[in-house]
Amino acid sequence: MLEEESKKIPESYNLQQAFEESGVKEVLDELDRDLIGLQPVKTRIREIAALLMVNKAREEMALTTAKPSLHMSFTGNPGTGKTTVAMRMAALLHRLGYVRKGHLVSVTRDDLVGQYIGHTAPKTKEMIKKAMGGVLFIDEAYYLYRPDNERDYGQEAIEILLQIMENNRDDLVVILAGYADKMDRFFTSNPGFRSRIAHHIDFPDYTDDELLQIARKMLEEQNYRFDKSAEQIMKKYIAARRNQPHFANARSIRNALDRAILRQANRLFKQNRDLSADDLSTVIEEDIAASRVLKSTDSTNQKE
């Protein structure tokens, strides 16, 4: 008691300074640098960060603040970076002092739902306990709910989650992720979930330009690069790939690049000459042009 009384309330609070000192700025800048596109997501994360910074300032000034609920749902098509952002989110919330540990526990239906009666609750609670102090990330959350089977144990997991999300709000943040349409159906049949989640963040598809940037970045990370003509053909590839079935944004690009690198290795191997570091790290036009996607731009039902 004495300590609290003697604690001085500062006259003013410099938000910018606190922002820079807390290391939040670093995480946000990193987010801007490393993640291409995703503007609405970044904006929302900045808003959340601002809210938490202001709350911290209010606390310093001894103004009462209710801890905001930060459960989130990430919806978007495959390969739009939901998991990547969730990982960053855990680090960010830790820097902001919202969660105590800042680790991410990533689970799917299998980890939460048991196989027989009485198996689900301990399993779900086990995962929740692991995630306490950090973030519980439930990938493809809609699989928890199977409307066709009313005896499905998923319902039990959902009930426990709802209860924990309400009662242990201070201890963990739950992030649900999944494809937009299925998540919508999931929320419609579980209205409790929708109302307990304050932040519904939608991950937009990447534009062709953004995907090209992502491709360049992915290659850079592995110490590869495109030459001029390869970049042109990659552009064409992205445009063509988008119209084919099972397009998974950045993930499709990653797969395409993996195959291009494979072809590059093959090409170099066949050349049978002395190679420079440059040769070894350049992906040229024909490595990408050999892709089936480009050969069959007309027939849409062919696989990659």
């Binding site: 105590r100 306990k129 201070d170 201890d171």
Partner: protein, 140 residues
């Protein structure tokens, strides 16, 4: 008679906040926290019932506190609950910290000294817990 066993036993009972800090200390040291309960508090009764499994993967004290509260809901009224921290590192492989986190709501009945006269008028001493005069589950 207040039962004194384990660390902190001569201090007033720890508050939940204090327990939580001790738990975090254990976790930060890499010890697995475990909850046990009994209604037979004889000092030689070392094997208490376990509440679930030792919590090896929990990173934050909140997870342990959650289980402690669950355990209290079931056994809190008439059992002792203690918290032990197990160090699995080589050379220790044993409990590093153990303290009582819950006492039965009823009177703590304590122990009496029993004398047994044996051959040559020797006396054997033993402690007897009043609680165990009643069957398990009805003791507090």
């Amino acid at each position: 008679m207040k039962l004194t066993q384990g660390t902190f036993s001569y201090l007033p009972d720890l508050t939940d906040e204090q327990i939580s800090k001790q738990v975090q200390y254990c976790i930060d040291n890499g010890w697995a926290v475990n909850l046990e309960f009994t209604d037979d508090p004889h000092p030689r009764n070392t094997y208490w019932e376990m509440w679930g499994l030792p919590m090896f993967d929990v990173k934050d004290a909140a997870g342990v506190m959650y289980e402690l509260n669950e355990c209290r809901k079931v056994y809190g009224d008439n059992h002792y609950i203690r918290l032990t921290a197990f160090d699995n590192s080589h050379g220790w492989e044993s409990i590093r910290l153990s303290f009582i986190v819950n006492r039965p709501k009823g009177e703590e009945k304590g122990f009496r000294l029993e004398r047994q006269e044996v051959d040559d008028r020797k006396i054997r001493y033993t402690t007897h817990s009043y609680a165990t005069d009643k069957p398990a589950g009805e003791r507090y």
